[in-house]
């Protein structure tokens, strides 16, 4: 049965992959495809944030800063130093993760909301540096002319080509985090989220694991930032501030904290909902707000959580029905 279920899941994954291959032919509107690309980038970040918040229970209100650090690192490395995108991409992740380590190491040792507070701080500092260190970051104008990456001599300079790059990287990130979640490490993360004291009695070095999950999560934010910079062609301090950090948290919350599909669903639905509500003009944000509140009120465990519970209930009903038929026969 378990093997069968795995096979079903494998089929699902293959189906989703094939569907994604054809997406650029279905979504011919270049604006929507661009929006889809932005969503894929945010999914990469949200997957990491979900690992941190949804599984390990640690809250970061500054993830946009690590996103920004990744974007600026990539822009500066490729433009000023002429380093290839393929090297700048992992280096952006590493730089963000290094800053994450510096923030996480002292704050995650302490119990409570210290990471949340420190992450707001790092968000503000990053904004200030981006805006004011003009010689290095280009100040408020940012850095223009971030080039599209080349792949085997083909420039990924269109949204269609970039889409394929993003799909592959997003899939890789999804599998990486899924592996972590399903491993003993993932189980330890959930233990920390639920009962820190009891987790220590299991022999879990909670301070080390919390720093580790924060580093992984900021690494993914940095990767996402780099991909963003090379998609847009420029970086500027806007879009890496406090509001964006909150926005990411709302996305994983609406999608379903602690569900693997949560960040994907949350990002896609909230990004596209906003677009579709554009049609309401000035009421757009009001309706967006109503949507958010409805999700939180009617689906407290997020969209993924809601459907997961619904499926389980349906399955249970089916099982009990079958059971009855057996006993009747």
């Amino acid at each position: 049965m378990k093997i069968l279920l795995n096979k079903v899941k494998q089929h699902q994954v293959v189906l989703i992959f094939i569907f994604l291959l054809f997406t650029p032919f279905i979504v011919t509107n270049i604006y929507y495809l661009h929006l889809l690309n932005i969503s894929l980038i945010m999914i990469i970040l949200a997957i990491g944030l979900n690992l941190l918040t949804g599984y390990a229970g640690q809250i970061s209100i500054g993830h946009a800063a690590f996103y920004g650090i990744g974007a600026y690192t990539s822009a500066i490395l490729t433009i000023r130093l002429g380093i290839s995108f393929w090297l700048a991409l992992p280096l952006s992740g590493i730089t963000a993760a290094f800053v994450g380590y510096l923030v996480g190491r002292p704050t995650l040792k302490l119990k409570g909301a210290y990471l949340a507070i420190a992450s707001i701080g790092i968000g503000e500092i990053t904004q200030l540096v981006m805006t004011n260190w003009t010689s290095f970051t280009g100040g408020a104008l940012g850095i223009k002319g971030v080039k599209s990456p080349d792949f085997l001599g083909v420039s990924l300079d269109s949204d269609v080509r970039y889409f394929y790059l993003l799909v592959i990287i997003a899939f890789l990130c999804f599998f990486l985090t899924s592996r972590i979640i399903n491993s003993e490490l993932g189980r330890a993360f959930r233990a920390i989220k639920e009962e820190e004291v009891a987790a220590q009695f299991m022999g879990i070095d909670i301070a080390r694991l919390k720093v580790m999950v924060f580093v992984v999560s900021t690494f993914l934010a940095g990767i996402a930032g780099s991909l963003f910079a090379h998609l847009e062609g420029y970086v500027s301090p806007y879009g890496f501030g406090f509001n964006q950090s909150i926005g990411f948290l709302i996305m994983i919350l609406a999608g379903g904290l602690g569900y693997k599909s949560g960040p994907i669903i949350g990002v896609i639905i909230l990004t596209f909902a906003r677009e579709f509500f554009r049609f309401f003009n000035e009421y757009q944000l009001v309706i967006y707000g109503v949507l958010l509140i409805s999700i939180i009120v009617f689906m407290p465990s997020g969209i993924s959580g809601f459907f997961d519970k619904l499926m389980k209930r349906l399955k249970k009903r089916e099982v009990s029905k079958h059971g009855k038929q057996h006993s009747e026969a």
Binding site: R187, E195, G203
Partner: protein
């Protein structure tokens, strides 16, 4: 096996342990009894490293383990069942047990231990995929004890295992504690249910406002006039 020598602990300015000393021999059940707030749980926390010890020392098999971080204490094969059970409520019963083996490198051993636990507590096997938070109080206590035993500890610290359980279940829990001892695990038992604890204890210490005021075999303590008045409500 465990030697606690003259330890002092405080919460801020309030000193809760004022020079506690006691000893546990291999294979014994040692009970620590006393009223609420006497310092019983704090003593356990000091041993497991959750509570900083200001003065004094704790030796385990001759090795100084004073102020070792909790996860390192576990590696020395000292396991603790925390007060109020504290299972991981949203994780499955099986996940809870697997976490009990987190510190064990040999995962085959963990599997074996889990099978042993399932034989001992068949109810847990039936519910192994269920969320631990949905179990009854008694089942959660069995799970918490079972989880602590997965790592095959040499010393098991039990904090109020009878708390909030129906009388029948309390008996069952104490039977299990004796069974664990028979299989070679040394036990330090902290209890408010002094009667039950003293019945199975080889040695007992009475703790009062952070000091040990009486010690003796379980039998001696049960028959002590003052103890009968103060803790056994007779």
């Amino acid at each position: 096996m465990l030697l606690v020598e003259n330890i002092y602990c405080s919460y801020g300015n309030i000193e809760v342990l004022k020079g506690i000393s006691f000893e546990i021999m291999q294979g014994q059940i040692v009970a620590l009894i006393g009223a609420n707030g006497a310092g019983k749980t704090t003593t356990l926390k000091a041993i497991s490293g959750l509570m900083p010890v200001a003065k004094g020392s704790i030796l385990f098999k001759g090795e100084n383990i004073t102020n070792l971080t909790p996860y390192k204490t576990v590696a020395k094969r000292i396991a603790q069942v925390p007060e109020g059970r504290q299972v991981f409520p949203e994780l499955s019963v099986l996940d809870n047990l697997l976490l009990g083996g987190y510190s064990v490198k040999d995962k085959d051993r963990v599997r074996n231990q889990i099978d042993t636990m399932f034989r001992r507590f068949p109810r847990l096997k039936e519910r192994k995929k269920q969320q631990a938070g949905t179990l009854s109080g008694g089942e959660q206590q069995m799970l918490a004890i079972g989880r602590a035993l997965i790592s095959e500890p040499e010393l098991l610290l039990l904090d109020e295992p009878s708390m909030g359980l129906a009388p029948i279940l309390v008996g069952e829990v104490f039977d299990i504690i004796e069974e664990i001892r028979e299989q070679g695990t040394t036990i330090l038992l902290v209890e408010q249910n002094a009667h039950m604890a003293l019945n199975i204890a080889d040695k007992a210490y009475v703790i009062q406002t952070g000091e040990i005021v009486l010690e003796g075999s379980g039998e001696e303590i049960v028959n002590n006039e003052e103890v009968r008045k103060a803790y056994l409500a007779e």
